[in-house]
């Protein structure tokens, strides 16, 4: 099933300059499944979104159709066909 992933500007250079990725995920899918598909196409992008144990980076937020994924089960958040996943670095640091 198709899913759209929206990238912040800082990550676009490692995704062929794209702001919007169209990926195919198995149905039913979780956020982890979508990120697996992203990592397969763009490993340099995938490792910036998750660590090697497939954990979501602490200061990277994933909004699944507008809802922060941590309220939906984190990496296990269900993702529907044609969903839009927005990647936004959290406001952190000093």
């Amino acid at each position: 099933m198709p899913v759209t992933v929206l990238l912040p500007g800082v990550l676009r250079a490692i995704a062929d300059g794209q702001a919007k990725l169209e990926v195919q995920a198995p149905a039913p899918a979780t956020l982890a499944d979508v990120l697996d598909a992203v990592s397969e196409r763009y490993p340099a992008l995938g490792r910036r979104l998750r660590d090697e144990s497939r954990g979501l980076r602490r200061y990277v937020n994933f909004y699944v159709d507008g809802e922060e994924c941590r309220y939906l089960g984190g990496a296990d958040a269900p993702v529907a066909a044609d969903a839009e996943i927005q990647v936004i670095p959290s406001v952190a640091g000093g």
């Binding site: 490792r47 144990s53 980076r57 200061y59 959290s90």
Partner: protein, 361 residues
């Protein structure tokens, strides 16, 4: 004539590169902005030195970047260059140390990391594999984090025997392998762990830094979490060399590039008072392997220096006479081109300095 030196300065918010023209320094950067650079290495085993930088973004995670043109351009592999294997169920927090191997193995580079582990590269520092001998050590479950995390922060490959490597971690102590990393033995006899019920345990010490001169591979120096030590028998046993220092607390320990008996450190008052004694900025040098110490302060702030020098924020170059360098958490970097006799400011107002390395280019 003053030799041209490249000084790499890793900070909390990126890497800065300084080169000298005579007595003046030109600083570029930040390279890799908004990453903490706990470790940087200048691998001089190549015609053009290779720069390796451990860069960790709070957002996007850790990596190792490599430059073969003295920092003009950098590269990283698509996949994570340092990553724990799946069966460990562990994720890399950051790389704390990058250590080129002996001249006989020009593509061997080690990485010490958090959580405490050792990785090994056989392609010049681009890609690394976990050294299982340390990871599988039965002591590992009893290593504990220090204030800054739990990491292998010191890696000293033997200068001529690629099967031997010595590491140190906080906390955990010193471990030695003589079989290429297949196995490691704790090597802390004589190093005090005053914060444990048994003050002289087999392991568990909070060693802050160890150093060695390649001409004396059996002699090591250690700056401990209270305690300054020397080993003359390959890190098996250690004895105190703290007499003559204003404090036995501090982080760096550096050996002169040409005189194995000359060492440098930067004392802080105490664990609970992590400032230079009296707020005076002073490097201490011993020219007799720790028997006596001399304060070096010519050109350094005589008062009001309420900051600290971290474990990798002091280094020497390979010039003759040797250059000595250190950076402070308050963003100043100082250089001495005469082995510590006098100092000049290289840069100020940088982010917290975490690591420095220098080499003649």
């Amino acid at each position: 004539m003053t030799q041209k030196v490249l000084l790499a300065i890793g900070t909390r918010k990126g890497l800065f590169l300084a080169t000298n023209s005579g007595a003046d320094w030109e600083v570029t950067g930040p390279h890799h902005p908004m990453t903490d650079v706990y470790a940087v290495a200048i691998d001089t085993r190549r015609d053009t030195p290779r720069l390796l930088a451990a860069v960790t973004s709070e957002h996007w995670g850790p990596s190792v970047a490599v430059s073969d043109d003295l920092g003009a351009t950098w590269s990283e592999p698509d996949h994570a260059p340092v990553a724990f294997p799946e069966d460990t169920d562990t994720a890399l927090a950051r790389v704390w140390q990058l250590a080129p191997g002996p001249d006989s193995e020009p593509d061997l580079v080690y990485a010490g990391v958090e959580p405490s582990a050792l990785f090994k590269s056989t392609d010049g520092g681009k890609n690394y594999e976990l050294v299982r001998g340390l990871w599988d050590h039965p002591h590992r479950e009893r290593w504990t984090p220090g204030f800054g995390g739990m990491a292998v922060h010191s890696v000293i490959p033997h200068p001529s025997d690629a099967s031997r490597v010595t590491v140190a971690m906080s906390t955990g102590g010193v471990y030695v392998s003589t079989d290429g990393g297949e196995s490691f033995s704790a090597s802390n006899e004589g190093i005090k762990a005053y914060f444990l019920p048994d003050p002289f345990p087999e392991f568990g010490q909070c060693v802050h830094k160890i150093a060695q001169h390649p001409d004396r591979p059996d002699q090591f120096f250690a700056q401990n979490h209270h305690g300054v030590y020397r080993s003359d028998d390959g890190a098996h046993t250690w004895k105190s060399i703290a007499d003559g220092l204003p404090s036995d607390f501090g982080f760096p320990m550096v050996v002169h590039p040409h005189r194995p008996e000359t060492i440098y450190t930067f004392p802080l008052t105490a664990d609970a008072m992590r400032f230079p004694p009296d707020g005076r900025c002073r490097v201490y040098r011993s020219d007799d392997a720790g028997a006596t110490w001399t304060a070096l302060a010519n050109g350094l702030p005589a008062e009001g220096f309420w900051t600290a020098v971290m474990r990798d924020a002091m280094c020497v170059d390979d010039a003759d006479p040797a250059g000595v360098y250190f950076g402070a958490r308050s963003g100043e970097v100082y250089a001495s081109r005469d082995e510590g006799e006098s100092w000049t400011l290289v840069a100020a107002h940088l982010p917290d300095v975490l690591s420095v390395r220098a080499a003649v280019i």
